[in-house]
């Protein structure tokens, strides 16, 4: 009997979470689709000077605003690499694509807290550029 009441309580708490997270997640998905349709990441990458010294910064910017499956970031990074973008740029793009989410920010802020969401994304943005440099350095040590 006590177990049943515990299960009912757990189900009610889960439904309460569902009631406020599902509309946020759906809204963010719709916004992401709209942005990706209006400004595809490929078009954005053509607008930004990815081959310049500031490439890692632009790579991180592109990855932060882009939304979609991570596979897309690999394909885009591969194309940019072939076009002359540095390894640091492509790494920053791949990492920021999955760790920074400007479009997901409203959902993250609503569910995990505004201060947490803003700082986490800001730190991840800086770390994406830092990782680009770290990977380039580590790769240069290889044979």
């Amino acid at each position: 009997m006590e177990w049943r009441s515990k299960a009912r309580q757990a189900a009610s708490k889960t439904l309460a979470t569902l009631a406020y997270t599902v509309p946020i997640v759906l809204g963010v998905l719709a916004l992401a689709s709209l942005l990706a349709a209006a400004v595809p990441p490929r078009v954005l990458s053509e607008l930004l000077p990815m081959e310049s010294a500031l490439g890692p910064l632009f790579g991180a910017v592109l990855g932060s605003v882009a939304a979609g499956h991570p596979v897309t970031s690999y394909v885009l990074a591969g194309e940019l690499n072939a076009a002359g973008a540095s390894l640091a740029t492509t790494t920053a793009l791949i990492i920021s694509w999955v760790t920074v989410g400007i479009i997901h920010l409203p959902a993250e802020a609503a569910i995990l807290g505004t201060r947490f969401a803003i700082w986490r994304n800001a730190i991840c943005f800086v770390l994406a550029i830092a990782m680009g440099c770290a990977v380039t350095f580590l790769m240069s040590l290889g044979p």
Binding site: K6, A10, L29, A38, N81, T99, I111, I123
Partner: protein, 172 residues
């Protein structure tokens, strides 16, 4: 927090969430009015994202139900709280790497666990470790080679802990 106040807070949060969804639907409608091609492309993309997120969301809500049923604050504080130590970091990194589905599908569970005592640093570590996607490693090897894939994977694990430490220092 008493039950009545918690219910009012939940209702207020749900109301704000639905208002946000209606606002986005409005933006969609305005876009459809001025640029039907963009709206149509967006709708197709939304459908494809939705089919990807629904299974992950279903899994996440099952986990939330189980967490509400079995997880006690004391247990959570011990294994994923501020004083969980190396075990907590290792658990967050491992769960992040093994988690599947889109990032935003995991927000509800993490929000729930955070409210129960999971530290912000470990939430951030979990989210960062998700950058290492095991099923996509062969594809990464195909595009960038083994050396790059191994280096990047090790960097992701290291940086996920660094990210957690920075979040703890700045946010907590």
């Amino acid at each position: 927090m008493d039950v009545g106040r918690e219910k009012t807070n939940n209702a207020r949060q749900a109301m704000r969430a639905w208002l946000f969804l209606f606002f986005v639907a409005g933006v969609f409608a305005v876009t459809a009015l001025f640029s039907p091609a963009v709206a149509s492309r967006a709708l197709v993309s939304f459908g494809s994202l939705l089919t990807r997120i629904v299974p992950a969301l279903a899994l996440v809500f099952c986990l939330i139900f189980l967490a509400n049923l079995f997880l006690e604050r004391k247990w959570l504080a011990k294994y994923l709280g501020k004083t969980s130590g190396v075990r907590g970091w290792a658990l967050a990194v491992m769960c992040g790497i093994l988690s599947v589905g889109p990032l935003h599908a995991w927000y509800p569970l993490l929000g729930d666990l955070k409210a129960k005592g999971m530290s912000s640093a470990l939430v951030a570590t979990f989210l960062y470790a998700r950058a290492l996607k095991l099923p996509l490693l062969p594809l990464m090897v195909h595009y960038f080679g083994v050396e790059f894939t191994v280096t990047l994977s090790l960097c992701i694990i290291t940086f996920s802990v660094l990210n957690g430490l920075l979040v703890r220092r700045i946010v907590a």
